[in-house]
C-alpha cells in the first residue's frame, strides 16, 4: 500500500512565483489567440495580450514589496532585490514589445511573442534564484527561447546569428555547469546561502566559482567574452536585439550580484572577484574602442552595451552596499537610454530593411528634427554627458568605485567615456552634417507608431532620472 506523500510547499510558495507564473502562462493564451483569431486581428491581439500579462505581472511583483520570503526550500527568494530586477525585466520586455510590430511574418508573430515572454520568465526566475538549480533553469529558459528568436528575421545574417549564439552560448553554459558541479562538490550543497561557510576544499571552490563566473560574464557580454555580441545583435531582429540588450543583462546581473554579495565567503570574496573587475575594465576599453569603427547602429550598440555593462559591474567593485544601489540605478538608466535608441532605429526601419545602417541617419536632423534631437539625446546619455541619467549614473559609479578603493577602475572609466564620446558623436555628426544636401528620399515609414511611445517614455525617463537618482535603499539586506 503506497503511503501518502506530503507536498513540501504551500500557498506562500506559489504566491512567491505568481508574477513569474503569469509571465510564463500568458504565452499559452497568446498561442491560442494566434491559432483562433482571423489573420487581420492576430498581431494586435497577440501584442495586447502579452502586454497585459506583463503589466499584470509587474503589478503582482510590486505588491510583494516588503514581504521577503524564501520559497521552494530556498530555491527562490522574493524581496526587494528580486522585485527590482523582475520589474526591470518586465519593463525591458514591454519596451521590446513596442518595437515588435514587425517581428517576423504575420503567422510567426504569435510564436515569437510567446517565446519572448518565456524568455522573460526565465530572466525573472534568475532574478530570484537562490540555488544553483533554479539559476540554471532560469538561464536556460532565457537562452533557449532566444536562440529561436535570433533566427527569426528572413536574412542570412539572422541564421548566422542564431547559430553563433547557440554554439557559443552553449559553450559558456558548459563552463558554468562544470563550475556548478565543482561548487557542489566543494560544499555539498546547491544553496547559495550554504557557500558562505568555509568550503571543505577551497581549491575546488575557487575553481568552481571561476567557471561559474565565466558563464555569467559571457551572458553579460563583457570583454573578452563579448565576441559573439556584435554579430548576434546585428543578425537578430531589432526587437529581439533590444530585448537581449536589457533583459538578458538584467537576469545575469541579478545572479552575479547575488553570488558576489550573498554567496561568497567573506574571507576570500574579494580575491575571487578580482577577475570580474579586470573584465569590467577591459570591457570599458574594448567596448568603446570597438564602437569607434562601426557603421551599423546595432553593432555600435552591441559594443556600447559591452562598455555600459562594464560600468555597471565596475559599480559593484569592492561589493559595497552603495555600489549595488548605483549598479541598479545605472542598469535602469541604461535600459531607458539604450531602448530609446533602439526605438529610434525601429522608427527608421521599413518593411524589409532595418534602419540601423549609418546611411539611414545622414541628414536626419533636417528631415526629422524631433527624432534626430531625441536620438542625439539618447546618444549623449550613453556617452554620459549631462543632462542625462547616463551622466548621473556614471558620476555615482565613479564616486562609489573611488570610495571602495578602486580608483584605477574610475580612471579607466573616464578614459573609456572619452573614447565613447567620439563613437557616439559620429552618429550625431551624420545626422546633422553630411547628409544635409541629400534628397529627402527616405521618409519615415515605420510599421506602426508604437515605437514613438517607447521613444517618448525613454526620453522622459532618461531626463527625469538625471535629477532623481532613485535607487531602492533596502535592496542589500534582501539579497541574501
Amino acid at each position: 500500500m503506497p503511503s501518502t506523500l506530503t507536498i513540501p510547499w504551500g500557498n506562500a510558495d506559489w504566491n512567491a512565483i505568481l508574477p513569474l507564473g503569469v509571465v510564463a502562462l500568458t504565452p499559452l493564451l497568446v498561442i491560442l489567440a494566434d491559432l483562433l483569431l482571423p489573420r487581420s486581428l492576430r498581431r494586435s491581439v497577440v501584442l495586447a495580450l502579452a502586454a497585459l500579462g506583463l503589466i499584470y505581472a509587474g503589478f503582482l511583483a510590486a505588491r510583494g514589496w516588503g514581504h521577503p520570503y524564501s520559497a521552494f526550500g530556498g530555491g527562490f527568494v522574493t524581496g526587494g532585490f528580486t522585485i527590482v530586477f523582475q520589474e526591470i525585466v518586465i519593463a525591458g520586455a514591454l519596451f521590446s514589445l513596442l518595437l515588435a510590430t514587425h517581428l517576423g511574418r504575420d503567422d510567426q508573430a504569435g510564436g515569437a511573442v510567446a517565446l519572448l515572454l518565456w524568455s522573460a520568465s526565465g530572466a525573472m526566475l534568475m532574478a530570484g534564484a537562490a540555488n544553483l538549480m533554479t539559476i540554471f533553469l532560469g538561464l536556460e529558459l532565457l537562452s533557449l527561447a532566444l536562440y529561436c528568436l535570433c533566427g527569426l528575421a528572413a536574412r542570412p545574417s539572422a541564421r548566422e546569428a542564431a547559430l553563433k549564439y547557440l554554439i557559443l552560448s552553449s559553450t559558456a553554459s558548459g563552463f558554468m555547469l562544470y563550475g556548478m558541479a565543482l561548487l557542489f562538490g566543494a560544499t555539498g550543497s546547491v544553496q547559495l546561502s550554504a557557500f558562505a561557510a568555509p568550503a571543505a576544499s577551497p581549491m575546488l571552490f575557487t575553481l568552481g566559482s571561476g567557471l561559474f563566473l565565466i558563464g555569467f560574464v559571457f551572458k553579460l557580454s563583457l570583454a573578452p567574452f563579448h565576441i559573439w555580441t556584435p554579430d548576434v545583435y546585428e543578425g537578430a531582429p531589432l526587437p529581439v536585439t533590444a530585448f537581449m540588450s536589457v533583459v538578458t543583462k538584467a537576469g545575469a546581473l541579478a545572479v552575479l550580484a547575488r553570488f558576489a554579495y550573498a554567496a561568497l565567503p567573506q574571507a576570500n570574496a574579494q580575491a575571487i572577484l578580482v577577475p570580474l573587475w579586470i573584465v569590467a575594465a577591459l570591457s570599458m576599453i574594448v567596448g568603446n574602442v570597438g564602437a569607434l569603427a562601426q557603421t551599423d547602429v546595432k553593432r555600435l550598440l552591441a559594443y556600447s552595451g559591452t562598455a555600459q555593462l562594464g560600468y555597471v559591474v565596475a559599480a559593484l567593485a569592492g561589493t559595497t552596499s552603495l555600489g549595488l544601489r548605483y549598479a541598479i540605478f545605472y542598469l535602469v538608466a541604461y535600459m531607458f537610454m539604450n531602448l530609446g535608441a533602439f526605438a529610434v532605429v525601429a522608427l527608421l526601419s521599413r518593411e524589409h530593411e532595418e534602419g540601423s545602417h549609418l546611411s539611414a541617419y545622414a541628414g536626419l536632423g533636417y528631415r526629422q528634427p524631433v527624432l534626430a534631437a531625441l536620438m542625439t539625446f539618447f546618444l549623449l546619455a550613453l556617452a554620459g554627458l549631462p543632462p542625462t541619467a547616463g551622466f548621473t549614473g556614471k558620476l555615482l559609479i565613479l564616486a562609489s568605485s573611488v570610495d571602495a578603493g578602486y580608483a584605477w577602475l574610475a580612471v579607466i572609466l573616464i578614459v573609456g567615456t572619452a573614447i565613447s564620446a567620439y563613437a557616439y558623436l559620429k552618429i550625431v555628426l551624420a545626422m546633422y552634417a553630411r547628409g544635409a544636401g541629400a534628397p529627402l528620399q527616405r521618409a519615415l515609414h515605420p510599421a506602426s507608431a508604437l515605437p514613438w511611445l517607447g521613444v517618448a517614455i525613454c526620453a522622459i525617463a532618461t531626463f527625469v532620472l538625471t535629477f532623481y537618482p532613485l535607487a531602492p535603499s533596502d535592496v542589500l539586506p534582501l539579497v541574501k
Binding site: 548566422e160 559553450t171 575553481l207
Partner: protein
C-alpha cells in the same frame, strides 16, 4: 529666493531659453532669429550690471539651487572674478551677436547659427557661474560641444568638419584630465564645492595638490590652446568669423585662465605647479608669436596671436600675478574681438578671400576696417596708452615680481615679435596697392580650390560696422582701470597679497615698461622696413613670391607640432586600433572589404570562408579568456 538670486537665475537661463526657442522655430524665424539671439545675450549683460553691487560685496552673490546626492549640491556664485567673465561673455558676446546678424545675413542656416551661439553663451555662463567643480565640468564639456558644432558649421567644407573633429578630440583629452582632477579633489576633500575644496587646500598632501593641479592644467591647456595641445586653434578658424571672435578669441579659450585664477588657493600651495604653468604660458606666448610670422592667412595670424596672448594670461595667473593675468584677459577680449570683426569685414567684402597676398591697399576702400584694425594692432602690441600696454606690462612685471625673471624676459622678447607680425599683417593688408588681380602663381600661392562665395545680398553696413565702432572705445581705454590701484583692490578678497622678489625692488615698473617699449618699437620698425610699401609692382610681387617660397620649413609646418602629435599619438592609436580590430572584430574590416568584394561578384566563396573561420575564431577567444580566468583561480585556490 531673493530678487538678486532671481535676476542671476534669469540671466543664466535666458540664452538657453532663446537657443531652444530658435532651434524649435528656426525656419519660421529666419533672420529675426538674429535679433532674438542678440537680445538674449544683451539683456543678461544689462542684468549683470544690476547685480554688480551685490557681487562685489563680501563673499559675492551665492544662489543655492538644489541639493543633489550627498556631496554634490549645485548653485551659482557671482563674485568679482565670475562677474568680470560674465560681463565680457554677455557684453562682447552681445556685440558679436549683433555683428553676426550682418555676417550671416544671407546664410540659409542663420537660425541654426544663432541657436548654437546662444547655447554656447549659456554653456559659458554655466562654466563661470557654477559654485562647484561638477557644474564647471558640465559647462566645460558643453562649451566644447558648442565649439564643435560651430567650427563645423559649414559642414559642406571637408576642412571644417576635420577641424571640428580635431578640436573636439583634443578637448576631450582636456575634459578627461579635468574630470580626473575633480575626482582627485573629491577623493581628498570629500566635496566638490569650491568653498570646501579651497578651505582644505592648505591641509592636503603636496603630492595630491600637484597631481590635481597638473590634471586641471591639462584641461586648461586643451581649452586655452597651450602647447602642446594648441594645434586645434588655428584649424578652428574654419568656422564663421563671428565664431572665431566670440569662442576662439574672447571667451571660451580664456576658460583656462579663469580656471587657474579660480583655483588660486591650490596653486598658492604648490610652487611646482606654479612654475610649470608659468613656463608653459610663456613658451606658448613665444611659440605662438613666432608662428604668427610665417602665416599668410589673416585669420590664422589672428589665431596664433590669440594663442600667444593667452600664453601671456596663463603666464600671469600661473606665476601668481592673478590680477595682471585677468587684466590681460579683460583688455584682450576687446581688442581681439575687434581685430577679428574688422578682419571679418575685409573677408566678407572680398568674398571669403583670407590670403594677405591677395589684399593690399585696402585702407582707402574700407576706412572703418582699417582704423579698427590699426587701433586693435596698437592695443595688442602694447603701445601706450592703448589698453594692451597696461595689461601686458602688468604681466611681464608681475612675473618679475614673483621671482620668475626668465619668464619675464621671454615676455619682453615676445612683445617685440608680436609688434613685428601684427604690423606685418596690418601693412600688407592695408598699405600699398591692391594685388587682387595678380594671378596666384605670381604670388607664390599654391593652387587650391576656392570656396563658393555664398553671400548674396548683404545686410545694412551699420549692422556690422556698429559693433566694431563700439569696441574701439574699450580697446583704447580698458587698460586705464589700473590707475589708482582700484583693479587690484577689486580682487583683493580672491587672491592672497603678492610677495615682492628682490629683483622687483631693484627694477622699477617704469623701467620694465621702457624696455618693453623699445622692443615693440624695434618690431614695428622692422615690419615697416620690410612691408611698409608693398604694392602691385613687379618687384614687390617678386619679393612676396620669393618670401612665400623661402619661408623656413619649421615655421611653415608650425614647428612640427601636428606632425609630432600625429607620430606620437594618432599613428600608434590607428595602428593599435586596426590591429585590435583585426583581432577583436574581423567583421569590420571585412565589412569594408566585403562591400567591394560583393561588387566584384565573388562574394560566395569569401563569405563562406569567413564564416566557418569566424565561429571557430570566436570560440578560440572564449577559450583563451576562460583559460586566463581559470589560471587566476587555480593560483588563488592553490595559495590558500
Amino acid at each position: 529666493m531673493s530678487n538678486d538670486a532671481l535676476v542671476l537665475l534669469a540671466l543664466w537661463l535666458l540664452p538657453l531659453a532663446s537657443a531652444i526657442l530658435i532651434f524649435a522655430f528656426g525656419p519660421m524665424l529666419r533672420r529675426s532669429a538674429g535679433v532674438i539671439g542678440s537680445g538674449a545675450v544683451l539683456v543678461p549683460f544689462a542684468l549683470t550690471w544690476v547685480l554688480a553691487a551685490s557681487a562685489l560685496g563680501t563673499g559675492g552673490l551665492k544662489v543655492h539651487l538644489f541639493d543633489w546626492i550627498a556631496g554634490f549640491s549645485f548653485g551659482l556664485w557671482l563674485d568679482p572674478l565670475s562677474l568680470l567673465w560674465t560681463l565680457i561673455i554677455t557684453g562682447v558676446g552681445g556685440l558679436i551677436h549683433v555683428y553676426a546678424i550682418g555676417y550671416m545675413w544671407s546664410d540659409r542656416a542663420i537660425a541654426r547659427f544663432f541657436a548654437y551661439m546662444n547655447f554656447f553663451v549659456f554653456a559659458m555662463l554655466t562654466l563661470v557661474l557654477s559654485d562647484n567643480f561638477v557644474g564647471l565640468l558640465v559647462g566645460w564639456g558643453l562649451v566644447g560641444l558648442a565649439s564643435y558644432f560651430l567650427i563645423g558649421f559649414w559642414f559642406f567644407k571637408p576642412s571644417a568638419v576635420a577641424a571640428a573633429m580635431k578640436a573636439f578630440v583634443i578637448n576631450v583629452v582636456g575634459d578627461a584630465g579635468l574630470m580626473f582632477a575633480v575626482f582627485v579633489l573629491f577623493a581628498a576633500t570629500g566635496s566638490t564645492a569650491y568653498a570646501d575644496v579651497f578651505a582644505k587646500a592648505a591641509t592636503l598632501a603636496p603630492a595630491t595638490v600637484l597631481l590635481a593641479c597638473i590634471a586641471i592644467f591639462i584641461g586648461c591647456a586643451a581649452k586655452s590652446a597651450q602647447i602642446p595641445l594648441h594645434t586645434w586653434l588655428p584649424d578652428a578658424m574654419e568656422g564663421p568669423t563671428p565664431v572665431s571672435a566670440l569662442i576662439h578669441a574672447a571667451t571660451m579659450v580664456t576658460a583656462g585662465v579663469y580656471l587657474v585664477a579660480r583655483c588660486a588657493p591650490l596653486w598658492d600651495v604648490s610652487p611646482e605647479a606654479r612654475a610649470l604653468v608659468g613656463t608653459i604660458g610663456a613658451l606658448t606666448a613665444l611659440v605662438g608669436a613666432i608662428l604668427g610670422i610665417a602665416q599668410w592667412d589673416i585669420k590664422r595670424i589672428l589665431a596664433y596671436s590669440t594663442m600667444s596672448q593667452i600664453g601671456y594670461m596663463i603666464m600671469g595667473v600661473g606665476v601668481g600675478a592673478y590680477q595682471a593675468g585677468i587684466l590681460h584677459f579683460f583688455t584682450h577680449a576687446f581688442f581681439k574681438a575687434q581685430l577679428f570683426l574688422a578682419a571679418g569685414i575685409v573677408i566678407h567684402a572680398l568674398h571669403d578671400e583670407q590670403d594677405l597676398r591677395k589684399m593690399g591697399g585696402l585702407g582707402k576702400k574700407m576706412p572703418l576696417a582699417f582704423w579698427a584694425m590699426t587701433i586693435g594692432t596698437l592695443a595688442i602690441i602694447g603701445f601706450p596708452p592703448f589698453s594692451g600696454f597696461f595689461s601686458k606690462d602688468a604681466v611681464i612685471y608681475g612675473a618679475l615680481e614673483r621671482g620668475y625673471p626668465l619668464l619675464s624676459l621671454i615676455g619682453v622678447v615676445t612683445a617685440g615679435i608680436t609688434a613685428y607680425y601684427m604690423c606685418r599683417m596690418l601693412f600688407v593688408t592695408f598699405l600699398g596697392n591692391n594685388r587682387g588681380n595678380v594671378p596666384d602663381v605670381d604670388l607664390g600661392i599654391p593652387a587650391r580650390e576656392h570656396s563658393e562665395p555664398h553671400f548674396g545680398e548683404s545686410a545694412p553696413a551699420w549692422v556690422m560696422g556698429a559693433p566694431v565702432a563700439i569696441l574701439m572705445v574699450p580697446s583704447v581705454v580698458a587698460g586705464w582701470v589700473v590707475f589708482g590701484g582700484r583693479w587690484n583692490a577689486l580682487f583683493a578678497s580672491d587672491f592672497a597679497p603678492k610677495p615682492e622678489s628682490a629683483l622687483a625692488t631693484v627694477l622699477p615698473e617704469w623701467l620694465v615698461g621702457v624696455v618693453v617699449l623699445a622692443f615693440v618699437a624695434w618690431g614695428v620698425a622692422a615690419a615697416y622696413h620690410r612691408y611698409g610699401s608693398f604694392d602691385a609692382t613687379v618687384s614687390a610681387v617678386e619679393r612676396l613670391r620669393a618670401e612665400s617660397q623661402r619661408m623656413a620649413q619649421p615655421l611653415v609646418r608650425a614647428f612640427y607640432f601636428d606632425d609630432a602629435l600625429e607620430a606620437l599619438f594618432v599613428r600608434p592609436a590607428r595602428a593599435v586600433g586596426s590591429a585590435f580590430m583585426r583581432v577583436v572584430d574581423p567583421h569590420v574590416i571585412d565589412g569594408v572589404v566585403r562591400d567591394v568584394v560583393w561588387l566584384a561578384g565573388w562574394i560566395g566563396r569569401e563569405v563562406r570562408a569567413l564564416q566557418t573561420g569566424l565561429v571557430r575564431g570566436y570560440a578560440l577567444v572564449l577559450a583563451l579568456g576562460a583559460a586566463a580566468f581559470l589560471a587566476y583561480f587555480a593560483l588563488i585556490g592553490a595559495s590558500r
